[in-house]
C-alpha cells in the first residue's frame, strides 16, 4: 500500500477543503492530489531514480513526496545547509535524480552527474499543468522505498536511512485517526523538509485533514506572527525554537509592545533533541491553554515511538511528588504500536530502572540503510540512545550509547571534527564530544594533546580552524588541553571519559 493513499483519501473525502497554506497561497486536497499526479508523470518521463529536494519547505515538498510515491521512486530531501563538497557527494550517491529547488547551486556542484534540475516554481507549475494520460496511470503499489534520508553517525560519511511505504503507513495509521481534525484546525509546520519530523508532519496532518500552514524559515517573530494570522491550533517545534519563541515573547512583554495573540494554540509538540527543563517550564507558563507533547523518535523509526502527553505534562507540573515532577524530563511512554526494551552491553534485556541501550521494534521501525540493515534477527532496532524505563513505564534518556553529539536536534559526528583538528601541525591527538548546553541541549567540547616541541594552539585559533573547514555549529564551546587521551585495550578512543573531564 502506497503512502499516496493518505492524500487520496483526504482528497476523496474533502476535495475542496484547504489542506496547505504557504506564502499566502492556498491549496485544496484536490489541488494537491492533481499536482502529485502531474508530478508522477514528470518523474516517470525524466527517468530519475530519486526525487530530491534542495529547498526550504513549500508546496513543492508536498507535491514531490506524493508524486515520488506514485511513481515508485524514493523521495530524498537534502540538507541545504551542507557545504558544497558534502552536497555534491550526496547528490552523486542518488544520481540520476530529479532535483527540485536551488537550480543554480545543483548545476554548479553536481555538474555531469546526470540530474534533471527544476526550480521550485518550474516544478510546481509543470505538476499543475500535467495530467497523466489515461493509459499511463500505473501508480506504484507501494511495496518499496518511499523515503531516503541521509543521517549522521560517528564517522563523517552519512548513512542513507530508508523508510518503506509500510513503515510510514504503519506509523500514520497506528497513531492518527482519519479526518480527526476540526475544519478550523491549522498546523504550523516549520521543521526543515529534510528532517523526518518535517515529513511525518505532512503525512499526519493530511491524513487527519488538519490544514498545514508552512513557515519555510524559522524566526520567533515569524512564528508568533503566523500563529496569530492563521489562528494556528497545532505546532511542532524543536527545543531551540521553543526557547527562542519564549525569549521573544518575554522581550516583547518587557518592551511593552502589543501582546501576540496565541490563544488559538491548543497543542504544542516538541522533539528532535533534549528539552531543557527551564525552557519547558517557561513555555508551560507562556501558553497556559496549550497541551504539550514531548515526542521521541528517530529517522529510522519513522519518527515518534514514545510520547509524554498533555495530561502527563500537567500532572508533573502540579505534583508535589518528585517522582511525578521528574516525568517532565522523561520521553514519556512507548506508543501502543511499538515495543521498547532496554538492553545491556551483551544484548541481555535489563530490568526496569537499569540503564542500557534503547531498542525498539514495530511496523514503523525500519532500521534499514541502503548499505545494510541494523535490525537484529528478531527485528529489534538499536537506537544508539542510552536510557532506562522506570517502574511506571516511563522512558528516560541518559545520553547517547555511541558518541554522536546532538546539538539543536542535529546529529554531529565527532570524527569529522577530530579529523579537522588533526590537520593542525601542533596537535598530536584530538577528541570531540558532547558538553551540556542550555541553548542547544548539547554542544561541542574538545580535548587536545599538543605535539612535543610545539606550543599549544590558542583556543581562538582552534575555533577558527573548525569554523572555516566545517560549519559554525561544529565550533567547540569548550577546549581542554590534556597530556594524553584515554584509550581502551582495543585502541578505541574513550570519548565518554573525555566528556567527564570536560564536565568536571
Amino acid at each position: 500500500m502506497n503512502i499516496a493513499l493518505l492524500l487520496e483519501m483526504a482528497a476523496e473525502a474533502a476535495p475542496d477543503r484547504v489542506g496547505l497554506v504557504c506564502d499566502g497561497k492556498r491549496w485544496t486536497y484536490g489541488d494537491l492530489l492533481a499536482a502529485a499526479r502531474g508530478a508522477f508523470s514528470i518523474i516517470q518521463n525524466s527517468g530519475a531514480e530519486y526525487v530530491a529536494l534542495l529547498d526550504e519547505s513549500s508546496e513543492a515538498a508536498v507535491i514531490a513526496v506524493f508524486g515520488a510515491a506514485l511513481a515508485g521512486v524514493p523521495y530524498c530531501p537534502l540538507n541545504y545547509r551542507l557545504p558544497d563538497a558534502d552536497l555534491a557527494a550526496l547528490l552523486g550517491r542518488i544520481a540520476p535524480a530529479l532535483v527540485i529547488g536551488d537550480e543554480e547551486r545543483v548545476t554548479r556542484v553536481a555538474r555531469g552527474q546526470g540530474h534533471t534540475i527544476l526550480s521550485r516554481e518550474e516544478f510546481t507549475l509543470k505538476a499543475q499543468e500535467t495530467v497523466p494520460a489515461d493509459d499511463a496511470r500505473e501508480y506504484d503499489p507501494g511495496e518499496g522505498v518511499a523515503i531516503q534520508l541521509f543521517t549522521s553517525g560517528t564517522t563523517a560519511a552519512p548513512k542513507a536511512a530508508i523508510l518503506r511505504h509500510s513503515n510510514l503507513l504503519g506509523y500514520i495509521l497506528g497513531t492518527v485517526e482519519f479526518a480527526s481534525a476540526d475544519e478550523a484546525d491549522a498546523a504550523l509546520v516549520v521543521v526543515p523538509p529534510y528532517h523526518i519530523a518535517g515529513i511525518s508532519a505532512l503525512l499526519s496532518s493530511i491524513y487527519a485533514q488538519r490544514k498545514i500552514v508552512m513557515l519555510p524559515a524559522f524566526s520567533p517573530e515569524g512564528w508568533l506572527g503566523l500563529v496569530e494570522a492563521e489562528a494556528i491550533t497545532n505546532a511542532f517545534v524543536v527545543p531551540t525554537m521553543l526557547a527562542r519563541i519564549v525569549d521573544a515573547m518575554d522581550k516583547k512583554a518587557a518592551d511593552g509592545g502589543a501582546v501576540v495573540r496565541t490563544a488559538s494554540l491548543r497543542a504544542i509538540a516538541y522533539g528532535g533533541g533534549k528539552m531543557p527543563l527551564e525552557v519547558i517550564h517557561k513555555a508551560l507558563e507562556r501558553f497556559p491553554a496549550a497541551g504539550f507533547t514531548n515526542a521521541y523518535g528517530l529517522t529510522e523509526t519513522s519518527s515518534t515511538i514514545a510520547l509524554l502527553g498533555p495530561d502527563d505534562h500537567r500532572e508533573a507540573l502540579a505534583s508535589e511528588d518528585p517522582k511525578v515532577r521528574g516525568r517532565l524530563t522523561s520521553l514519556g511512554k512507548p506508543i501502543p504500536t511499538v515495543e521498547i526494551e532496554i538492553r545491556g552491553e551483551s544484548g541481555e534485556v535489563l530490568p526496569l530502572g537499569e540503564a542500557g541501550e534503547i531498542y525498539v521494534r514495530g511496523e514503523q521501525v525500519s532500521g534499514e540503510y541502503k548499505e545494510k540493515s541494523a535490525l537484529d534477527a528478531e527485528g529489534w532496532f538499536p537506537t544508539r540512545d542510552a536510557g532506562y524505563m522506570d517502574e511506571d513505564g516511563y522512558l528516560f534518556l541518559s545520553g547517547r550509547a555511541d558518541d554522536v553529539i546532538v546539538r539543536g536536534g542535529e546529529n554531529m559526528s565527532p570524527g569529522e571534527i577530530e579529523d579537522v583538528l588533526l590537520t593542525h601541525p601542533a596537535i598530536a591527538d584530538a577528541c570531540a564530544c558532547a558538553i551540556p548546553s542550555i541553548e542547544w541541549g548539547e554542544a561541542v567540547g574538545i580535548a587536545i594533546v599538543t605535539r612535543d616541541g610545539f606550543e599549544a594552539p590558542a583556543e581562538t585559533e582552534l575555533k577558527d580552524l573548525v569554523r572555516s573547514r566545517l560549519r559554525s555549529s561544529r565550533v567547540p564551546g569548550k577546549v581542554a588541553f590534556l597530556a594524553e587521551l584515554p584509550y581502551n585495550e582495543m585502541g578505541k578512543l574513550l570519548r565518554r571519559k573525555v566528556k567527564e573531564v570536560l564536565a568536571g
Binding site: 500500500m1 483519501m9 509500510s166 479526518a179 487527519a208 501502543p336
Partner: protein
C-alpha cells in the same frame, strides 16, 4: 491475507485495506470481497447495507480482523457472515 492488501466490494463502491486478517472470508454487502473488482456486480444484501465510512476501522470481536475503509460505500462489512463493528478510536496527542 497480507496486511496492506486492498480489497474491493462486489456489491458496492466500498474498498478496504487489510490491517489484520485471519483465514476467513471477508465480505461487503454480503458478497465476498476481492483484490480485483468482479465484472458482474453482486446484489447488495439487505442485512449488510448499513454502509462503510471512509477512514473508519472495522473489527471483529476476537480482534483477528481489522480493515481500514479507504473508499466509502453502501454495503457493510462482515467475515463469514458475521458483521464487523467500528473500532473505538483512542487517538494519541498529535506528535509531529
Amino acid at each position: 491475507m497480507k496486511p496492506g492488501t486492498r480489497l474491493k466490494s462486489a456489491a458496492c463502491d466500498t474498498e478496504v485495506m487489510v490491517i489484520r486478517a485471519a483465514e476467513g472470508q471477508i465480505e461487503c454487502g454480503g458478497a465476498p470481497m476481492g483484490e480485483a473488482k468482479p465484472a458482474e456486480a453482486a446484489p447488495l444484501a439487505a442485512d449488510f447495507s448499513a454502509g462503510t465510512l471512509m477512514g473508519k476501522r472495522y473489527v471483529d470481536a476476537a480482534g483477528q480482523y481489522e480493515l481500514l475503509c479507504v473508499k466509502p460505500g453502501k454495503g457493510s462489512l462482515s467475515v463469514d457472515g458475521q458483521a464487523l463493528v467500528v473500532k473505538d478510536a483512542k487517538p494519541l496527542p498529535a506528535s509531529d
